[in-house]
Symmetry: C2
Subunit: 297 residues, 2 copies
Amino acid sequence: MGRPRQTGHNRLVATRAIPSHSLSMSQKRPVFYISDGTGITAETIGHSLLTQFEGVEFETTRIAFVDSVDKAQAAAAQIREAGERAGLRPVVVNSAVDMELIAILGDSGALMLDVFAPFILPLEQELGMKRQARAGKAHGLVDFAAYEARINATNYALTHDDGVDLDYGEADLILVGVSRSGKTPTCLYLALHYGVKAANYPLTEDDLEIDELPKRLKPYRRKLFGLTIDPVRLQQIRTERKPNSRYATIEQCRAEVARAESLFKIVGLPSLSTTHTSIEEIASKVLAQFGIQRHMF
Amino acid sequence: MGRPRQTGHNRLVATRAIPSHSLSMSQKRPVFYISDGTGITAETIGHSLLTQFEGVEFETTRIAFVDSVDKAQAAAAQIREAGERAGLRPVVVNSAVDMELIAILGDSGALMLDVFAPFILPLEQELGMKRQARAGKAHGLVDFAAYEARINATNYALTHDDGVDLDYGEADLILVGVSRSGKTPTCLYLALHYGVKAANYPLTEDDLEIDELPKRLKPYRRKLFGLTIDPVRLQQIRTERKPNSRYATIEQCRAEVARAESLFKIVGLPSLSTTHTSIEEIASKVLAQFGIQRHMF
């Protein structure tokens, strides 16, 4: 893993002679997600923070596994250089916990946002103990049971995708919807993150001709969740997959979606439109619906 | 989505008459991840914080989509009740940003850890503007391009899984390893989170008989990354899949792993053992190796 980290920036390099103010309008603010582990915590909270400042352009860089003085110094140099190039003070969202490494990173001149720092003392006081600072622990080592649950759930999602295997006895839940309404990625996300065994069943034209649940789904009524989607969006997605097919016409998309939504209503299925919804949010809403609390890290 | 949220707790309920101290040794500390959106940010940072307090038992509950006074009051009641049941003050890791909702949650008596609060003011000062507090934005709405990249990458991972389609021209990277070394979940994770087109190629016994790359992989030398695994662990995983098969014997697992690791060395492939590594960490290390910076939220 010793290859030099790439930032992938191909923009023109601003020399230090140019006053930073004259550039700041057109430059993106450099933001670094730094971690002694995977960087997932720093990146997640950092991303959430940045979305609250609309209109500001950021250029984000992840530097993971910063767990030594050498790596911290290399990161600090990269941060400093990015700031000089942009003519803007960089922001560092940092989840490393070693004070020596934090100090080195701080020497870069960046605004340091240490994501754990504000919460450690109150937690220590509440729990009546000192935290044990272990590098990169949160998303690192896992117990085999949790790993196995995720892998098994992923295999389950793969074998119960798209109506391949219709025995849903083991399913925690079953997503139902027309082709390309977002079922497969949601099932895989639920499996990988939550160890949830999520199957999915594509509503075919035959299914949509009757105003009741497909026979194969009837025994699993309480496990069902409907996904729907805007027909125009569906047409775009299907066109990318099968251009010029009947499947991808707006008429077909409109008809299928209308019948699917009507079915959800008649049968009383909980459902959700995926049109403007991220995979994370679909997954969260499905879990909330079924009251599932698991989260595998 | 109006169903009452379930906590899934089945433990005995401690009555209020029992002094809380006599219970506290055996009770788990209630922790709530509260959010006006999916709860992913609160849960990610909260989980990272809790792992720093080894030996403390926590009982975590996610309450997502708390975006109204009613929902905040319901959450506060649930938090208060959990604290009374456990005889321990609950901890709330909160990512909701509306001050009114935060105040209601705080009335529960829990220790409030507001994950954004400490970082907003320094960022506002640095950026010279006020943040726009929009509920549940970070993991909610996404632009179609990012969504499409994730979906396309997921489809790619599915069609280029396990050597099904060997045309790797479009692949961002290709994971190589023996059967059940962790390739498939890693590819799906890379696709869902980063929109990375990750294929995987299973090293067969035939491949392992020669000390060079399989012919199909040679054109893609720079896209390859090896996964390996402890043979004992591999045996466990394979036994679960195909009990009593030759495939799952320790001899077979030892031989395959030894030859695969030797191949990685001879050919000079970067590689990683998945034995004690979470899917997140494998994915992060693979991305760091290839210098890939993308992250789709």
